[in-house]
Symmetry: C2
Subunit: 413 residues, 2 copies
């Protein structure tokens, strides 16, 4: 893509009311635009990253049997009343709205209820199980405060998978697969080193749920981490009983700030029971379906990647989610310059090879500003074509994550 065609601009400063590092950098680099606290427009550069994260999640969910669908944002009151999650006193972050005829509706903040209700149409017999529908969509949470940029949104992208199994054994088998798939996701988006499985409250559903927590100064959670065992305990369940249960010693645990990037829940028959999702087993007996739910905040991941992978000069994307692999910078005064022509040749060759290239083809911008923009936007590899590099029949190549650049012969690139 030619930079001159991009309608977004890098900005010298983020909005004064934007306190979080991830949003500040993403706004300055032209990846997002703040519509209101907790709701951001994802601009073209940001959408490229968001789509790459989503595609990685899709691949990993597909690999364990996930089938993608698109649920609705609008929610029927009567379905949520059955599980006692309609009332604002029980769930404090609903956005509610209504139809012309006066019926109240909610905006989905998660989808256990409608998904369970829907599956009554498709699950009748043991032969219809297991099933693993999942969804990548915007959900809505009416947060009282939304100050962490993309890490806590009022409207945000997330993936939610729901598992429907015959019994606890079949459920547990999938639950373990989901853990591995989640680990793969965080590894692939460049957060593997800093992300740990943490034990958290299982709510009314089960003893524990599992969170994936990424170490991060800006995180809103506190965890107690055993690096040796590679597991952690969320502060909310950090007590002697739990430590005993998990066979962890206080002395080996370190308190850390972290952000929850994923969570997985064993739901038992809480939802299938309330909503009447049963199946006929091999012996003709009616049984309640055993469920699980599995969330990943896709736009939160975008924010966390920025918190973890950035420096004084801007964003430093892992190559797997970079908006473009190459940022090609041309130093030229006009399209007749040799450096412009050589850049165009190189750009076309890379595109032909199927590479993703952002070509800074602007004429009216100083080299220093172009380099600053390249650092701010943070593509993996910067290639500079200038009269100086061409004097050596070369281009200058520099990884965003490293300080040193080197000259590479034009034909070798």
């Amino acid at each position: 893509m030619k930079y001159s065609k991009l309608f977004t601009k890098t900005l010298k400063e983020a909005p004064a009311d934007e306190l979080s590092k991830n949003a500040q950098l993403l706004i300055r680099a032209g990846f997002i635009y703040k519509e209101m606290a907790g709701a951001y427009v994802i601009l073209p550069l940001g959408l490229r990253v968001l789509n790459k994260i989503s595609d990685i999640v899709r691949e990993e969910m597909g690999a364990i049997g996930g089938e993608e669908l698109q649920s609705t944002a609008l929610q029927r009151k009567e379905v949520w009343e059955k599980t006692d999650r309609w009332s604002d006193e029980v769930v404090d972050n609903w956005f509610k709205t209504g139809l012309k005829n006066g019926s109240e509706l909610g905006l989905g903040f998660t989808h256990e209820e409608p998904m369970t209700d829907m599956m009554r149409s498709f699950i009748h017999s043991y032969k219809d199980l297991p099933a693993y529908p999942y969804d990548i969509r915007t959900v809505f949470r009416n947060e009282a405060r939304a100050k962490s940029g993309l890490m806590r949104g009022r409207e945000f992208f997330w993936k939610a998978m729901y598992s429907f199994s015959k019994d606890e054994a079949e459920h547990q088998e999938f639950y373990e697969k989901a853990k591995t798939a989640y680990k793969n996701v965080f590894d692939r988006v460049g957060l593997g080193d800093k992300t740990y499985l943490a034990f958290a409250s299982g709510g009314t559903f089960s003893k524990y749920s599992h969170e994936f927590q990424t170490l991060c100064e800006a995180g809103e959670d506190t965890i107690y981490l055993s690096k040796e065992n590679g597991i952690a305990v969320n502060k909310e369940v950090y007590n002697d009983d739990v430590l005993d249960d998990l066979k962890l010693e206080k002395s080996e645990l370190v308190e850390e700030k972290a952000v929850e990037v994923g969570n997985i829940f064993s739901l038992g028959t809480k939802f299938s029971g309330s909503l009447g999702l049963t199946y006929n087993d091999e012996h003709g007996l009616d049984k309640e379906v055993v469920m699980g739910s599995y969330g990943i905040g896709i736009s939160r991941l975008l924010g966390v990647i920025v918190e973890v992978h950035s420096d004084m000069r801007g964003l430093v994307w892992p190559e797997s989610v970079a908006p473009f692999k190459y940022h090609l910078v041309t130093i030229a005064q006009s399209e007749d310059d040799e450096s412009y022509k050589k850049s165009e040749e190189l750009y076309n060759k890379l595109i032909e090879r199927g590479e993703e290239v952002l070509w800074d083809d602007r004429m009216d911008v100083r080299p220093g500003e172009k380099f600053a923009d390249a650092d701010l936007i943070g593509c993996s590899i910067r290639i500079v074509v200038s009269p100086k590099t061409l004097g050596e029949d070369s281009v200058e190549v520099k990884l965003r994550s490293e300080e040193e650049s080197k000259l590479v012969k034009f034909e070798e690139v």
Copy 2:
């Protein structure tokens, strides 16, 4: 994909309260699920079609310079008040909601206002123009009645593009390009033959807007069509003055039922004026940006394709948007049968070649039911592997759109 892994099922009957043909067929075939009137879950088979339609739209928008972003559903009151479109008396299909602190919010039914407001961050000089951001997302319209299935939703997918130009001439040039791009979209999704450019009200913005109307018995619009000229007039502006203006004779026009699949609007400076979107021209003068907006109902298109391309037995997808190109039907009693083994071999070969195949690998289903399902689901090419066809060392191949099948030697497929 193996049919046995699909969690959705075909149904003998659609819900009794579902009146529209498109929703009835799509529900029965397992493409959508009715969450409530006007809001449908898009199931895995449906999502494949929806994504194909979206990708065709993306390609055509990209080809004329469109840059994709994701706007927000949540809308700020103050932005919409500036154009006098906040009030429910002016816009009668808002869904409204609110924050904990009491601020009212809307759910976007279109995005002219926030898009114009946002572009004030990116458009300062004539050098920043033109710009063509677009969006494929769910929008919300609080329709009093929603009885046309996917053709009139309360929550639905649509593409909206907005054009920002220096002056009327630059706008008009793009507007014509957009017309062509729209025509390409409707051609590519298989509606070209039945879709006409129609003159409609330009609202307060301009003399006319242009609609793309697809002839369809279930359509809610009435148009007066001149097949000879390939244009139509929407009933809302069908009067002598307009006919004079367009140089159309009443005698050459035929009244038809139709559904609006796209519309394009010249907006002039209505929004840029109200919201203060100006730029510095070549002479240093402040000027208002000239705008246009361009909508296509993506999920409506899905519904219209079904209204137009279906028969007594079910869906008949155009190949460009079919969920799978091939529907492979295996007639076998067990996995040890030759027909199962040959099917698996063929399935793997097709997948290797990059083809999209739905393989009906179910054992416990009668052949007649499998054929009925294949017809209902409507993939382009049905391939049957049975003991009978294998006796001829062949498979049976039948196009969904034709009655005749033929035997093709196994190695030729």
